[in-house]
Symmetry: C2
Subunit: 172 residues, 2 copies
Amino acid sequence: MQSEGVASRSAEHRDSTRESRNGTPHLDAVSLAIIEQLQEDGRRPYAAIGKAVGLSEAAVRQRVQKLLDQGVMQIVAVTDPLTVGFRRQAMVGVNVEGDVESIADALTDMSEVEYVVMTAGSFDILAEIVCEDDDHLLDVINKRIRALPGVRSTESFVYLKLKKQTYMWGTR
Amino acid sequence: MQSEGVASRSAEHRDSTRESRNGTPHLDAVSLAIIEQLQEDGRRPYAAIGKAVGLSEAAVRQRVQKLLDQGVMQIVAVTDPLTVGFRRQAMVGVNVEGDVESIADALTDMSEVEYVVMTAGSFDILAEIVCEDDDHLLDVINKRIRALPGVRSTESFVYLKLKKQTYMWGTR
DNA sequence: GCCAAGGCTGCGAAATCCGCAGGTCTCGGT
DNA sequence: ACCGAGACCTGCGGATTTCGCAGCCTTGGC
C-alpha cells in the first residue's frame, strides 16, 4: 500500500486533503479548524480538539498525523534565537539572473538558512539566516550566498530585536 | 544507561532562568537542550525529553511550563498560509524617522502583522503581514502602515512561494 | 451490483500527564 | 552561625491521554 509512486491516476475518492495541481493539498474546513486549535496550543489533547471541531478523538489523531506526514503543518517549539542567547540573525534580500527557483533551492540546502521565500518586488528572494557569530554571518553571506552562480546582488538586514512572532492566522 | 545528560551539577548556580537587565531570561544548558528536543517534535513526551537531557519527567514538565509562562518559547503548529489556501502574504520594509521602537510597537498591535523585527540596514523594520486578499493587503500597507506618524517610506515584497521554514537552530 | 479505498467511531491497554509531598542546596537576614 | 524562604529536583499514585485495531459507512470505479 505504499504506492506513493507517480501513480497520479485520476482515481480520486473523496479526501479531506487531496492533491491539487502542484502537490499542495487542499484542506477542508475541519482540518483548518484542527490547525487553528494547534496554533493556539501545540500540545492540546486530541479529545479536546475533537470536542471543539466535532470529531472523535481517534479521527482527530488520524487527521493530525496525516497533516504532519504530508508536511502541511509541523508542531514545534519556536523561540527568538536572539533572546535565547548566542547567534546572529539577518534577513538577506537576493537578486537573481536566470532561474530563481534553483537559487532558492540552493539557499534551502544551507543549514544556516531557516526561511526562504520567493517574492515579487525589488528582491527575488528573501532568506533569513541564523549564525553563530559575526564571522559566521559574514562567511555565509559573502562566501556562500554571493558565490552562487546566478546571484546578481544581495542586501542584508541584521536583526537587532525581534518584536513579534505569532502563528495565528485564521484566529482573529 | 548513564544518561549522557547535559547537566553538570556543580558549577551552575541555581535558577535555570534568571533575568538580565532587559527582562530576557538567561537559559542554562539543560533548558537549551529541552528546547532543542521540542524543536524537533513539539509533542515529544516529557519522559523521553528527560531521558535525553538527564532529568526526571516531572522536572522537564516544570521547566517546560516555566519556559512557556515566561514567553521564552511557544509550542505551536506552523504552516505555510499560502499552502493552506486563502490569504496573501508580504514582507514590508519600513523606514522611520524618530522613534523606531514606537513604530514597531504600532505594527505589533496590528492583527494582520505576524512578524516584526527591528533591523540594521536600509530598512529600520521588517514586518511580515498575512491578509485575506489583495484588497486587504493593499489596505493594510497603504492605509494603516503608511499612515503611522513617523513612517517615512515602505517597500513591499509580496510572497510568491515559501520554500523553506524550519526551527532548528542549535541542532546541526 | 460489487469491490476497494478513505474516513469515522468505539473500545481496551499502555503510556503519559498531573499534582503533591518531601528532600537538597543556596542565599540572605537576624 | 542558625534558620527560613525560595528554587529545583525526585518519586509517587491517580486521572487523562495516546495508541492500535476491528468494524461500519460512504464514495466512486468497474
